[in-house]
């Protein structure tokens, strides 16, 4: 057997697999901290961002307060002072103007009074001072075009009775700028009552807040946002948003969180929340917001969510790259190392392959180290050495065995050559023998030879055991038989004598079962002696068989002093003596069943009425069919001797076959089968066989249909004789009513038109046409038709 190694490719190799496993492990090890790190840092980043945003918001709000505090405080103080009648309004105005000039945020102040408060002629009475380019300009306000009583900065404090921050507005005709106004109500004591007299306002330019808001800087694009009480964006670095209402910006396409955040801002609350941003499209963002003191304003800081994690993503990306490079280097290293480690194994595989192909001198790789591979290599070395020795030994043994085998073949040939063949028997005797040896030299034998003109000695034997000793013993036995069997010596004396000789020099205690007989060819009487051999069969005519069972003696070669007695048997004419060895009954088939005695008897029964050669060969054929596929374990030997029925065939020693049939059409099959066998045995051409078949069928059916008037069973016999190799003679006998088929004139039917033809009579026509001679006679109650056919 040749082992085939699958070719080793890189992907099948250990190096690749180790590296792969290693890589996977490392990936898992690296990935875990990354995931955990990502989770943790994103939480931390969020917390920090929230803290930062909140602080920034508070700081900015504080800045607003710083700016606004004086704006609120100063007018409040002044208004209180105005309630004192000793202080003149011009003094108040002066202080207020001073404040406007010095304060960075406040850009104007106005003192406006109720109608006609300072005289009947003045419906409007307001003085407005504002700063422009470092100079203070003062003018009066109030006209039909500028009815300040309808302005928020006047109306609201009067209505609410408290200072008010107005919504941002563009003061047209006033400050001419975008501003908010802190408006404080002024009261006077009139008749002990505190009466609303007007308002003192401080205008705050929104540019001041814009600066503060602009200074707010968080993350990349984070920005601040100052809202008025009503949601108007007072200041933001995004110019497009300015002066718009935040509610409008947060209305379209934004989530609930955004709405809630805006509502919180406008309600003056503070907080930190995620929302969708204020841009036209959604932009996940965070919002930190807080109220700007009593102004009712709210300040918020908005920054995009992604910027919060920007740095972390950058870091992760870098980490990924570094890890990738590291893993790649690691992979290369692993592959390198494992390849280095497996290289000796690969070499070992190559060497082993060579050994497998029969090169026992293939060099194994040399290993200096003491590792596992080195040990394996050493073990292989030892195996290789032993294999070499074994193969050498085997080669020697094989040569020797071949020699013995060829010698055995010679022995076998000698053994077979000793067996007699091509035996001519007197014409009323028929003898056939065969020995089909098992593989090895066997221990079976048969023999037959004339003692004198009238006496034939036949023998069959089976040495216990097989192989050379058995065959040697068999040859000795056969030689002894030839030496001891002489005319006039009773067979039992011959046997005794052989037994004696065999016992003399039989150190290995071999023995042989042996049947021998001396046949008187004239009388058909046989004297025989059976030394422990299988009982012979007697196959009679008419498918009767029986066994020649007499008391057996011991096999030859066991006891020197053993006495053997002879028996006698008289052949009836036609009977066949069949001698066999146990190679037949002991033959096994594939399912380990024996052929057995019963099957042998049945086969012989079926094979009756054949000549000895046909019987022997058909029996062996049957046996071969039975044991198909199984090895033949033992020699198969058959010797058949027939005393022919001289009276029946009437033709001396010619072969004959006898058929017993019933008067049933179904028996035709038997005729057909028998003719087929007979044609083969007697070399009758198929055409002649068919004609015989046809003629017999016609005759037989004629008899079956017309010869009997009763419904009884009748016997019809057919005998086939081969008096000459080119002539067959057939005799049909029946006990029906007399019928001479030759009386019928059948020819008249022919030549007539179809419609007038008689069906029937055709068979008789066939018989006459096809046979060389047809003869009919009546003997007693029997019709006897004799046909001859030459071929």
């Amino acid at each position: 057997m040749r082992f085939r190694f699958p070719r080793l490719t890189f992907f099948r190799g250990l190096a690749f697999r180790y590296s792969l496993f290693f890589l996977i492990a490392i990936l898992i090890i690296l990935f875990l901290p990354l995931v955990i790190g990502y989770g943790t840092s994103s939480v931390l980043l969020f917390i920090n961002a929230q803290k930062d945003a909140t602080i920034l918001t508070e700081q900015t709000v504080a800045q607003f307060k710083n700016v606004l505090q004086p704006t609120e405080l100063v007018p409040q103080t002044l208004v209180q002072a105005m309630e004192n009648p000793n202080i003149t309004y011009s003094e108040i105005l002066r202080i207020a103007r001073d404040f406007v000039l010095h304060d960075t945020v406040v850009c104007g102040t106005c003192l406006a009074f109720e109608p006609y408060l300072n005289g009947k002629e003045n419906y409007w009475n307001a003085t407005y001072s504002y700063e422009k380019n470092g100079r203070l300009t003062t003018r009066t306000l109030g006209s039909a075009d500028y009815d300040y009583f309808k302005m928020d900065w006047y109306r609201l404090p009067k209505l609410l009775n408290k200072p008010v921050w107005t919504e941002p507005y563009y003061d047209k005709g006033g400050g001419d700028t975008l501003m908010c106004t802190y408006s404080t109500p002024v009261y006077r004591n009139i008749g002990g009552r505190r009466v609303f007299a007007g308002v003192l306002t401080m205008d705050v330019s929104l540019s001041a807040f814009a600066r503060i808001v602009k200074s707010v800087n968080i993350f990349k694009t984070g920005y601040g946002l100052l809202l008025s009480r009503q949601g108007r964006i007072i200041a933001s670095p995004r110019m497009v948003m300015n002066n718009q209402n935040i509610l409008d910006l947060a209305r379209i396409g934004k989530g609930k969180a955004t709405q809630q955040a805006i509502m919180g801002m406008m309600a003056g609350k503070s907080g930190f929340t995620s929302m969708d941003g204020l841009e036209a499209r959604k932009f996940p963002s965070f919002l930190s917001y807080a109220p700007v003191a009593q102004t009712g304003w709210s300040f918020g800081i908005i920054f995009p969510e992604e910027e919060l994690y920007d740095d972390m993503y950058k870091f992760l990306k870098m980490m990924g790259w570094i890890s990738g490079v590291c893993i790649f280097i690691l992979l290369l290293t692993t592959i390198f190392i494992t390849r280095r480690m497996t290289r000796p194994i690969v070499r070992l595989v190559e060497a082993t392959r060579k050994i497998g192909q029969g090169d026992f001198n293939a060099l194994l790789p040399v290993r200096k180290s003491k590792d596992e591979v080195a040990q394996l290599t050493n073990a292989f070395g030892v195996m290789q050495k032993e294999l070499r020795v074994y193969m050498q030994h085997l080669a020697e043994t094989t040569t020797e065995k071949e020699k013995i085998e060829s010698e055995l073949n010679v022995a076998h040939n000698i053994q077979m050559g000793m067996l007699p063949r091509g035996f001519s028997t007197p014409e009323n005797w028929d003898l056939f023998a065969t020995l089909d040896p098992a593989k090895a030299v066997g221990g079976d034998l048969y023999d037959f030879f004339y003692l004198d003109d009238d006496h034939l000695c036949i023998a069959i034997g089976d040495v216990a055991g097989k192989g050379v000793p058995a065959s040697l013993f068999m040859m000795v036995t056969r030689t002894l038989l030839r030496a001891k069997a002489v005319a006039g010596t009773p067979i039992n004396v011959v046997m005794q004598s052989i037994n004696h000789e065999l016992c003399q020099d039989n150190p290995s205690q071999m023995f042989v079962t042996f049947f021998a007989g001396i046949v008187d060819l004239k009388s058909g009487k046989m004297e025989f002696c059976n030394a422990g051999h299988n009982y012979p069969y007697i196959v009679g005519l008419g498918e009767e068989i029986r066994q020649l069972k007499v008391r057996n003696g011991l096999p030859l070669g066991i006891y020197d002093t053993n006495e053997y007695s002879s028996e006698s048997f008289s052949f009836n004419p036609g009977e066949i003596l069949v001698l066999t060895t146990d190679g037949i009954t002991d033959a096994l088939n594939m399912s380990n069943d024996f052929f057995g005695e019963a099957k042998l008897a049945a086969s012989l029964t079926a094979l009756a009425n054949r000549n000895t050669k046909a019987l022997t060969e058909l029996l062996i054929g049957e046996l071969k069919r039975f044991s198909r596929g199984a090895e033949q374990a033992d020699d198969i030997t058959i010797l058949a001797l027939q005393y022919k029925d001289a009276t029946m065939n009437g033709a001396g020693g010619a072969p004959f076959i006898h058929l017993d049939l019933l008067n049933q059409v179904s028996e035709l099959e038997k005729i057909a089968n028998r003719i087929e066998e007979l044609s083969e045995a007697w070399n009758i051409p198929p055409k002649i066989g068919m004609e015989l078949n046809l003629v017999l069928e016609e005759l037989f059916t004629n008899v079956v249909f017309y010869a009997f008037d009763d419904n009884m069973e009748h016997n019809i016999t057919i005998d086939f004789v081969l008096p000459d190799v080119h002539q067959v003679q057939i005799t049909i006998r029946d006990d029906g009513k007399p019928f001479n088929l030759l009386d019928k004139n059948t020819d008249e039917n022919f030549g007539k038109p179809v419609e007038e033809r008689q069906i029937g009579g055709l068979g008789i026509h066939f018989i006459r046409k096809m046979m060389n001679s047809v003869d009919y006679r009546r003997e007693g109650n029997k019709n006897i038709v004799t046909l001859t056919k030459n071929f």
Partner: protein, 110 residues
């Protein structure tokens, strides 16, 4: 014996395999009579695989021939083995049966 029935546009072909003898001629008889009863008046018997025929078989063929002739139909045989042909010759049936050497030739005659 085995009988195979085969229909072509021209006729019914009856193929016989094996032995046609006294034990089984009724099978053929029944088959042919059934066809004739069904007004099938064109029948070809294919004998290439028929290796034996006895007078019983011949009788059936003769009967079919008679019936179909009376019906003005047609009955023919083809592809007879040599041995079988000889039997036909001996019986003189070659003169009354239409016998064709092959199936193809036979079919052309229908």
């Amino acid at each position: 014996m085995e009988i195979v029935e085969d229909k072509t546009s021209q006729c019914v072909i009856i193929g016989i395999t094996g032995r046609l003898d006294t034990t089984n001629y009724t099978l053929l008889e029944n088959k042919l009579m059934e066809l004739i009863d069904n007004q099938q008046d064109k029948i070809l018997v294919e004998c290439s695989k028929m290796d034996y025929i006895s007078s019983s078989g011949l009788r059936i063929l003769l009967m079919a021939l008679k019936k179909l002739t009376a019906m003005k139909g047609k009955f023919a045989l083809c592809s007879l083995q040599e041995n079988i042909h000889e039997i036909f010759e001996i019986s003189g049936f070659t003169s009354i049966f239409e016998i064709h050497p092959s199936r193809e030739v036979a079919l052309k005659s229908f």
